[in-house]
Amino acid sequence: MTAIQTPPERRSSDATVLIPVLEGRLFGPVTRRRLQRFLAIASALWIAVLGVATLADDDRLRAGALGLLLPGGGFVADGSWVAAVAVLAGFGLSLVVWWFFGATIVPPVVLVGTAAWAALTTGDVTATGVVVALATPPALAVLGLAAHAARHRRQAAVGRSLNAELAAVRFTIAGPPALGSTLPVAESTAEDLARLRFGLDLALQPVDEFAGFTHLDQYREAALRYQLNALSYGLAMSQLTRTPAFGGYLAEAQQRAIEKMLLRKVWGYWARENAWGNLRWDPEPVENEQNIMLTGFYGLQIAMYETLNDDRYSQPGALRFRWSDATTYDHDLGSLAASIHRNMSASDYTLFPCEPNWIYTVCNTFGLSTLVAHDRLHGTTYRDDVIDRLRAGYEQEFVRPDGKLLGVRAEHVGMSWNFWANPSVQTTTSYWMHAGLPEIAHRTWWLLKRDITIRDGLLELPRFATKGLDPGSYLIGRDTFSQVVTMMAARELGDEEYAVAAQRTLDEREPIEDRDGVRRMKDSSGLANLYATLGRFGRSAGLRDLVAHGVPDAWQTGPRLAECAYPDVLGARAVTDGAALDLVLRPGAGPVRTVLAVDRLRPGAEYAVTGGTESSTTADSEGRAMVGVELADRLAVRLAPL
């Protein structure tokens, strides 16, 4: 079992966070304007079609016009019900394609194409058919609005009831560590290290190789980019909470994950989405108005690396997205953050889309985290510029009256799916939101955990549609991924009891596959395993510290384990107080006599060594020294200045 880490002394604050129940309003202001605009356009189309349907003599023209108003409307008009149903199904499929891949062009093409088909093949248009085709769209609109209003009233009543309880709840908003305090550093167990090795082996292969990754598609959750993001986040979290004074192969693994993201096979999806979503041929992945699913996730990945290691990816042009031998797009952490800041500033919602048109709440939390971390690392004020509008955007446009976060909203037409507020959305969003909007994150988790039970030390999740889904493989049947993200959120938000129960559930229930000391959950995707690493190595406010507060100065300047053999030497703990270095090491490939390289020592200074083969060592002119060790089991090593 993973060691439970003691939270550090912090300059924290308390907050009461009520649910923003929209009284007397069915929609947030931006959503309302978008819906009004959409309805105005739809009404104008309806009037035009009404004119054609009632005045035109040519049945082909009438069928075509009705086909533009309602998918299959042209076939409804002449009583071809089978064709009408087929077209309706085809149009539904086109909406799914639009949603999956951001292919905005597909539904209009299907609508126009099927309208033309109806016009070319229609028989005699009947009065009944015309009335049905004309009446259906407004009837559906009215029914939809009525259903939304009824649901809104029910949810508002729930929200008011919850607010009565929330008024008495004080959430602790984790602040930075108190002056003179430091962050806790725990020691990894042998099991922790075996799980971490799965990520290390994935990351340490050559940059252009992807053995062991899931290869299904590059658009949705199983895409390589999300696996690389998760891989890097987990490695960074392990470095923060266990081995902040260890660079070596742990830093190298993060570098490789970052550099794999620059390969066209990983980011090239954007060229296609931009083409069929925006009708624009421009593969540029960063300088655009969308694609926060790349800039936000990747920016956070790099910011975590920079917080713990070095600023190589903030150097101008350090991130070279290579499209072809002749075309590259050169960026760095700064240009990723600037892109997110510009797009949030320009968006009426403040949140902005991943795929063309689709705004996702969770993706924008990654963008915010990138801004927060960039401000801390480089002195910008991106977060302050957008945070009030962003908070209002979340609270007014993306929170239901019962406090649940909506997962998505269509940017142009303002619509969302009310059902799309299941625990998967709440759990992942509350975790990632904790870095930048901790108040909403706490409230969301507080609402969520009311439905989670712990029985005999195991976590039981409520029933919901995606509970058994593993988004890393699109396979359904086990709630492993849901347990993983619940563990992540509970641990980050300070509910260790729930996190321990989730981890215990996973440890006791999931079959494990072991290969030479590398362990992973056998029946789960790579993505689930990588996020399990993030959850396993997390701690209370671990993400918030990594993003918003950074690490103590001593960690950035003090002695560090710079290099050692892998997998011969596994770092279970590595921490410095700025002068000495404390290590706990474990062998990963049997007993071994080996050498460690330590850097950031005082040049020429002599250090006492405990746990090594020599009792002392002297740093060279660059502050680097070698330390021999005999590693057969757990070994504590300490270097302290004499």
């Binding site: 050559p206 889904l469 493989s473 396979l475």
Partner: protein, 186 residues
């Protein structure tokens, strides 16, 4: 991650259906190759690059071509005899049109190995476009007959364009799929 779980749920249902129909369980991703790094001062050890292997000729493409052209020939001939479809040009037997079509498709396949530019994405796009075009033309020419006046030449050209694109795409796609990865960067 997690931004579109409902979409992933839909994909999962489709995947499950596919694995049920094909009776092949999903194969999990293998373990990554074991990484190795030497101690300080030693030369870095990395996992060996994937060994270069010869690209195996893919038989499925020519088999698919031969099979589908044969199927088309038999079905159109039989349909014509049964009076179910009308030959575009009564003076030309359907078999002649099918032979012309086969020539067109085979010519396209002969071009494929010489075509060295383009990515796997291009090959996929070509396959999808070819399949779509073939379907649309089949529906239009034999079902709707509204846009194109049917003649043997039009029949062969319109069908042949779609099938040629489809097989060109497949011919490029499959060998690319079995191409070994390049050597290590480090």
């Amino acid at each position: 991650m997690g931004c579109c779980l409902v979409a992933a749920l839909v994909v999962s249902v489709l995947r499950r259906g596919w694995h049920t129909v094909t009776r092949r369980p999903p194969s999990p991703a293998p373990f990554p190759p074991p990484a190795r790094r030497g101690p300080p001062g030693s030369r870095a050890l990395v996992a060996p690059a994937t060994a270069t292997v010869a690209v195996r000729p893919i038989l499925s493409v020519p088999v698919a071509v031969a099979g589908s052209v044969l199927l088309l020939a038999v079905s159109t001939t039989a349909s014509s005899w049964a009076g179910l479809v009308r030959s575009p040009d009564p003076a030309v037997p359907p078999l002649v049109a099918d032979l012309l079509l086969a020539c067109l498709v085979v010519s396209a396949l002969l071009v494929a190995p010489r075509w060295t530019t383009g990515s796997r994405e291009t090959a996929r796009a070509l396959s999808a476009a070819g399949a779509t075009w073939t379907t649309v033309v089949l529906v239009e020419m034999h079902g709707l007959r509204t846009l194109v006046p049917a003649t043997t030449v039009v029949d062969v050209v319109l069908h042949g364009v779609g099938l040629s694109a489809l097989y060109l795409g497949l011919a490029r796609w499959r060998p690319l799929a079995s191409r070994p990865t390049s050597g290590a960067l480090s």
